[in-house]
């Protein structure tokens, strides 16, 4: 007879972001997300890195069979899987957009704003990287660079990052190019650049800067964060839609333009994806109702991107 199962702790990485944010603060939530994420990952997120064996653990359904220690099975007649601990000298820089458009939520009661979502996701990503002993830094920008935290590999560095992230307030406009150029100064060696933004910016300038980073040998990953309400156009019969950053507006009937808008958003996402792929840049489209674990999984599911 097996012992009675303990009540399962909620997997914060799989919960709805809004719900997860209500359960815990930024720090606990981030730790919970990362713990849950790592527990469910069942394998090293850094396959391909130089790794060393760390320990065995009991096989769980879903584990890949290639990590099963067949020798141990022969000796103990039990299934164990081998776990590895990675060694790396990766330096990662998280470039986060905190412009006014990021503070928007289509439904504040049900969905986190893009900024709140990005704060938590960035913290989780930083913790994930730091646990891999990767030096991790942060640049926050709106129309200018607002915060810069150089990359460090100490575990306590995460709390510094957490403090900066928690204190971020939305700015006005969006100017990604200075922030990305700042990365060049901060990452002397080749490293990882994670660019997290709603991409409501000058696409050509941003792409040029991202390509430049790629040209410098950095691995570049773009997280395109969108609110679900930005995917579909809705609202009253006729309304004036106003950009919170530029105050530019357009008056139209959402019903007349919904389909065209949806196609335009799709084409924009496709254009970003195509442009990034052409330049060797990883691109992921994430909506703010996506559980943090799923978002993290997308980032780490392409190890080649982090290799």
């Amino acid at each position: 007879m097996s012992a009675p199962a303990k009540p399962a702790r909620p997997r914060l990485d799989l919960l709805d972001p809004r719900e997860a944010a209500q359960i815990a603060g930024l720090e606990l939530l981030t730790e919970g997300v990362v713990e849950g994420f790592l527990a469910g990952l069942h394998r090293s997120p850094r396959r391909g890195f130089s790794v060393e064996f760390a320990e065995h653990r009991m096989y769980q359904p879903g584990d890949e069979l290639r990590y099963v220690d067949w020798k141990l099975l022969g000796r103990k007649d039990r299934l164990y899987v081998k776990q590895y601990e990675e060694e790396t000298n990766l330096r990662a820089m998280l470039v986060t957009d905190i412009s006014r458009s990021m503070a928007w939520s289509g439904n504040p009661e049900l969905v986190l704003s893009k900024l709140a979502y990005v704060q938590r996701l960035t913290a989780a990503l930083a913790l994930l990287l730091l646990r891999q002993r990767d030096a991790t830094g942060l640049i926050a920008f709106d129309e200018a660079v607002r915060a810069v935290v150089p990359a460090r590999a100490r575990t306590s560095h995460w709390y510094q990052l957490l403090g900066v992230l928690g204190g971020l307030t939305p700015g006005l406009g969006t100017a990604a190019e200075p922030a990305l150029r700042r990365v060049v100064d901060l990452l002397r060696r080749r490293g990882l650049v994670v660019f997290i933004s709603d991409l409501l910016l000058d696409r050509d300038l941003a792409l040029r800067a991202l390509k430049f980073l790629r040209h410098r040998g950095h691995q570049v990953l773009v997280l395109h964060v969108m609110d679900p309400a930005e995917l579909e156009l809705g609202g009253p019969a006729e309304a004036r839609f106003e950009d919170p950053e530029t105050r530019a507006g357009v008056t139209l009937r959402p019903k007349d333009w919904a389909e065209a808008y949806r196609q335009t958003v799709q084409s924009v996402v496709s254009a970003w994806r195509r442009a990034c792929r052409t330049s060797g840049i990883q691109y992921h489209h994430v909506t703010t109702d996506t559980p943090f674990g799923h978002a993290l999984r997308r980032v780490v599911a392409r190890p080649a991107g982090l290799a």
Binding site: E242, L252, W257, Y261
Partner: protein, 595 residues
Amino acid sequence: MIGFLSPWVLAGLPLAALPLVLHLIQRRDPPTIEFPAVRYLVQVTQEHQRRLRLRHWLLLLVRTIIIVALIVAAAGPSAPLRKAASHAPSALVLVLDDSPSSGVVVSGTPLINELRAAAARILGQATPSDALWLLTSDGVARRGSPEALARAVDSVQPTARRMDLGQALTLAGEVLRSDARPGGIVLLSDLQATALAPARVAVPLMVAHPSEPAPPNQGIISVEPGPQPWTPDGGTVTVRVAGDSTSPAPVSVSLADRPARQALVPSGGAGSFSMGPAVPGWWTLNAAKAPDELRADDDRSVLVRVAPVAQVSWNPAERYIDAAMEVLLASGRIRRGTEITLGTLGAGPSIVPPPEDPAALGALNRALERRGIGWRFGAPVATPAVSDSGALIGRVAITRRYALEPARASAAAGVVATAGGAPWVVRDGSVVLVGSRLDPAWTALPVGAGFMPFMDALVNRLARGQVATLQGAPGEAVLLPDLVTEVAQGERRWRVEGGAAFRPPQTGGYYLLAGRDTIGALAVSLDPRESLLAPAPESAVTGLWTGARLVSLADAAGAAFAGSGRASLQGPLLWLALALGLVEVGLASGIRRSS
């Protein structure tokens, strides 16, 4: 010209603005929504906005036209058929203006010739299946075949009758109502402004008029011989000239074949002519001016009675009678004598008001009966009344009177004036009875301006058996005095009934006969309005006769039957609305698809 069966429905036309109003209302103050991805919207709308805006406006226009088309269709529009070469069986009333002004000579040709030619051309377009009428100034609508009416048109000449175009068109419209075929009226006229009058025209009306302007004209519009009878010493006549010309007109006035008196009379003014002595009798007084393009109004005649002034005896105690007689005596209109007795019943001609003492009334009635007079004084009447307006006296208040009753049933004739419908002044034989005493307590006449002319007419004409000298126009009704039994002009005689209306057929002098006695005369002259040839402006014509179509005489034939046949526009309009509805559906769905 488009006509409507139910024009009141057109009051709903403002509803056509409904799409625009709804559009504006919906556009007003749309809510502002903060939306970061506005750049995507801008990108979307930039691609389609211009085309969509055009389509939106087209949609608005189409919806507006649909509403207009439906409302206009509901009003029952119809339009004249343009094809004149062959036309459906139609009913057509040809109104030919043969009034005196149609005799004006324009560019060497009488206007009536052009009117007749235009009428003949129209009749040449008619077919035997058409119902045709010819209406002229005599007011008789003659129906006939195209050939018969063409012969009738050939014989039309300017008449002396004025044509009231409003009455003629109303009559033509009533004639058309008797025929089920689609009909119309064609008016051929010089369109004198003075001849225009409102008309109830519910059928298509085409007005054909001369294209050349009317020539300037002057005419004698009145000849006033003054109080009659004239004394053998002569009298004064006033001649008035009017017309489009401003220069004075040389006018000559002659009494029968006496030498004429000549003078210049200003246009729009009057000239006085003193005529010399004449022997008693009826005389024709003629005024003439130099001829111009319209000859019909260049001379005018009236009849004048010349007679010695009456010799009157009266009771000086009758205050108001005495005062009036003294004035007439001083002005030479009467002399003192015994020819006529005023105030009491004398041996000869007498003018008898009721006696002051009611007790004397019985004796007076008996004396009248002895004289064989067919009237007597009856019961007193205290009900206030007003005298009926007539040739002798205007409307005068009458407070008290005696009823004048016929002594015999056969003697009811001879009423000269009435009060409240009852006889008030009557004449039988040589006696004139007046129902009220000539005193302000009985009637307001003695203190009114008409008292002196009344007394003059009473003693100089009525007591002598001459009832009235009347004036009239050809074709116009003239109310004859009660005693008249016959009207004579030369050898022509018209048997009439006293008190009835008589319509003199032409200009000239008519004598009013009572048996063998001539009791008055009727001078018939052209209506003075005929002298004013200025045509009415088109705006006045179309304003007065809604829907009238004006064409020149030359174009009348081609347009006559095109105007009488009308096609309903309801069907085309409903088809248009349906087609536009389909366009609207296409546009609306296209907008959704493209957006």
